[in-house]
Amino acid sequence: MILEIENLSVDLGEFKLNDVSLKVNRRDYVTIIGPTGSGKSILLETIAGFYKPLKGRILLEGRDITGLPPEKRCVSIVYQDYALFPHMNVFENIAYGLRKKESNASVIKEEVKRIAEILGISHLLHRKPTTLSGGEQQRVAIARALVVKPKLLLMDEPFSALDVKMRESLRKLVRRAVKEYDTTVLHVTHDFDDVFSLANRVVVMKNGKIMQTGRPENVFSKPSNDFVADFVGTNILEGVVIGKENGLTLIRVGEHILYSTDHAEVGERVRVSIRPENVTISNEMRQTKNTFLCSVEDIRRGTNLVWLTLRSGDLRFKVVTTPSSIDTVDVGKNVFASFKAVNVRIVR
């Protein structure tokens, strides 16, 4: 265990943390998600030592750092707006933290060279930050934070000012850099792609409280409450277990029968979750179990994905798919929606 947060409370007036507890293992990549104002950034900045908690403790490698100033914590932070020192060039920015620890100029040069190569910014070392693109500036900011080999790397929406393509390339670089530097990361994001492509754990926050933590696939497929389900976009349906069939659990949801590989007792009232991306739609009936004829209520088109709202009797759920798979689909038309029994997760 590298980080233990015990009953942390912070009050900044408009923003608060209420009795937050969290444990992070060494080498974990934790993404923190939640609506705006949920306390994600305050949590990071309190761990960094910028805010004094009203109560609670922060333990880093078993040592209580709650009262320590930021410079004594070995915790680096990367912001969305990069915060590169404009009066220093890229080399000086990256070397800034190293200079505090290391007086040997050749060691500093070697370390800067190493991280610059990993993050692909070796050719920018002599440039001033203001002459760089957003993606380049963010790579410099990550290099500056990582080069000091922090015990914890905190990132506050580091990719949100970048375009989709740049985000994807930065994710690859960050994944590699974090592995090379053997660092534990806490990463605040609004982008679920960050969660699935980088994190082995996710924390969902609301109103200064942690609502759920766990592996991303578990949190997204088995949200612990309605807020998490709604926030992560999971369909939650309420039903009753009516029987068992070939190792599958049969759940009645309204007039429909759903099949799940999860176990529950017959007669038990349960909630089932189905991820929107696990629902496939077609014009033909593909399988018998968990297939329903639905009408399309709503279609919302994004850059790469399309969100549909489908209804089958009293069953209403969201589906996310690619634009090419709904060429012939339109609002009011009928489609077959199906999902595997393994994707029908029982939530109690």
């Binding site: 410079e71 680096s76 707006d81 020192f85 800034y96």
Partner: protein
């Protein structure tokens, strides 16, 4: 209607600029150039010029040494009584310099502060030290205002990142905040120096304005106007304008493009 209003505003701006320009120019063109040159070489003028420059330079250094921490504390920290501190610091901008001089005369003449200082051999009233004290109190509010807004304009995240990279509060201030505030510090240095050079009311009351003793350039102007010696008065006025102009010129040259 909008065009008329726009024209009116521009007209007022030009009218006032023209009047100000004529007023300044008249100082240069009305007197006889020979008088000006001879006045410049008088012992009194040289003494007054030297005293003004030396005291203003010392005062500027002291003002900056005080205004930087004051401006930073007002920009960055929350503390009880902050708004009161801010209001009191700004007061000298609002009330007449003569009143400020009177307040300082009372403080350093009649109260325990002045008496304690005199007991340890520091005499402020009617001395050259009084000039410096008066200049400091006159210029400090201006320097503090400029520096406070300069520090406020620097994103605190620069400092937070520096702290997270192992630097203490003071080291961060030295390595990050001060270099980023360079433009504002330079601006406040120029404004402070110009303000100290032109300080009159407070200097007259606290330091006395005595001939060839506590006689700074504005005092020379005042004393010579009183005697009816217009040549000397106008010369000291011209010297003050030239110094202000040079200060603004240097400021524009060094920081104009950067701010």
């Amino acid at each position: 209607m909008l065009v008329n209003f726009k024209s009116f505003c521009i007209f007022v701006a030009f009218l006032f600029t023209f009047l100000l320009f004529i007023a300044i120019a008249s100082l240069f063109f009305v007197p006889n150039p020979k008088d000006i040159l001879s006045s410049l070489q008088t012992e009194e003028m040289l003494y007054s010029l030297k005293l003004s420059i030396v005291t203003s330079a010392i005062s500027t250094i002291i003002v900056l040494a005080l205004a930087i921490p004051i401006g930073y504390s007002l920009a960055r920290f929350s503390f009880p009584g902050k708004s009161i501190v801010k209001s009191i610091l700004d007061l000298p901008i609002a009330f007449p310099e003569l009143v400020l001089g009177l307040c300082l005369l009372m403080l350093f003449g009649q109260t325990f502060v002045g008496k304690s200082l005199e007991a340890v051999g520091i005499k402020i009233v009617f001395t050259k030290l009084g000039i410096i004290v008066a200049q400091i109190f006159t210029a400090l509010p201006y320097a503090t205002r400029i520096l406070c807004s300069t520090f406020e304009s620097i994103i605190p995240r620069f400092e937070l990142v520096s702290r997270s990279l192992g630097y203490s509060e003071f080291e961060t201030f030295k390595n990050v905040t001060i270099p980023l505030a360079r433009g504002g510090i330079f601006a406040s240095t120029i404004i402070t120096f110009a303000r100290c050079m032109g300080a009159f009311g407070a200097v007259l009351i606290l330091a006395g304005g005595s001939y060839m003793n506590t006689e700074t350039l504005p005092i020379t102007l005042y004393l010579n106007i009183s005697y009816g010696n217009m040549g000397m008065a106008i010369t000291s006025g011209i010297v003050l304008i030239v110094i202000s102009f040079l200060a603004i010129l240097v400021f524009e040259k060094v920081e104009g493009g950067r701010l």
